[in-house]
Symmetry: C2
Subunit: 203 residues, 2 copies
């Protein structure tokens, strides 16, 4: 048999992700990755056939984790499925709580990072980002549908764009939280989204 390459590969992925969020992808050199990961060039190119291959893998891993977390949030709130309004609010609250624990601004989202240097990435990668965002849209739209069925809406608003607002606020809050160095800002912003939903679906 042979030795296990997974720890090395995981270390490369973790350090690369952090570096990309600090420097941008184009601004991160392979040599920087080697230094942070404490590995050699041979090891890097053993695991990734190119820097572009790393970019793709980073996004694959990130989006898989992101969507797995969405899935968890849906499952955790599934018991409230009989009260869709409560379920929706609980879902949002889960992310409020998550962001409220941060002691430093969230280091950033690869969707946002990649979107600000789009020419560096292939269409395949951009498609993956788009797919992930649309998965969030669908998940929230379904919860909204159920809620509207039961409660109606205080004022008529566009359902699709309301679904998008969750991700929009997250992405925006990550940027502003970093720019102002205010770790709690993201949780506060999500709380406003929850407020908005509460006002829209008053009981």
């Amino acid at each position: 048999m042979a030795r296990d390459g997974k720890p090395t590969r995981d270390k490369i992925l973790a350090e690369s992700k952090a570096l990309v969020l600090e420097n941008g992808f184009a601004g991160t050199s392979v040599d920087q990755i080697l230094e942070r990961s404490q590995i050699t060039k041979g090891a890097f190119f053993y695991h990734f056939k190119s820097k572009a291959d790393l970019a793709r893998t980073l996004m694959d891993v990130f989006s898989a984790e992101d969507l797995a977390d969405l899935d968890n949030a849906l499952k955790e709130t599934a018991p409230l499925i009989g009260d869709p309004r409560q379920r929706l609010l609980k879902f949002v609250q889960r992310y409020v709580d998550m962001m409220a624990t941060l002691e430093a601004p969230y280091p950033g989202c690869l969707y946002g990072s990649y979107s600000y240097e789009p020419s560096q990435f292939s269409d395949e990668i951009k498609q993956k980002i788009s797919d992930a965002i649309l998965t969030w849209r669908s998940a929230l739209e379904e919860m909204l549908d159920e809620t509207i069925k039961v409660h109606g809406m205080k004022i008529p608003v566009d359902k699709k764009s309301l679904s998008d607002q969750f991700v929009v606020i997250l992405e925006g809050a990550f940027i502003i939280s970093k720019a102002l160095n205010e770790p709690k800002l993201t949780a506060e912003q999500l709380k406003h989204f929850k407020n908005y939903l509460e006002l829209l679906f008053e009981s």
Copy 2:
């Protein structure tokens, strides 16, 4: 005296900004800027003493334009100062209308771009970004204060973070709009912020 260098300088700034939003700052080479601007290296380094100098100038120009536009929006809505709720809503609607005219996703905001490769920029530049965002916060907070004095709030919410939400939604919407290639998304997202304010300050 001598010939006028302003057109050249302006061309460099315009093309650089576009390139930075496409490739990121680190991902944009001076040679690329030369090619797009149809100038030579000598001309570039005549106008900017380094690439870092360009980064600083780009942000100076961008934030100045951004804050000038904020100032315009405040002045345009100043006649409604006697009805602070209407003024606030009109202020937001102005940006809804502006974003609704876009036929392609907004190319991006330099605050967001710079925030996703923070190591590339000096503290001075980051301070400029922070100052600009805080200026937005103050402007909205003042309008909110006046509105609350007259109308109160339907539910108690944090005023400072509510002020921030305008910029948060803009930044987030720029990213998601680009990622999904949906030009109208930004206007729709701002509309939700307006809805939220209307629900908070029902008459």
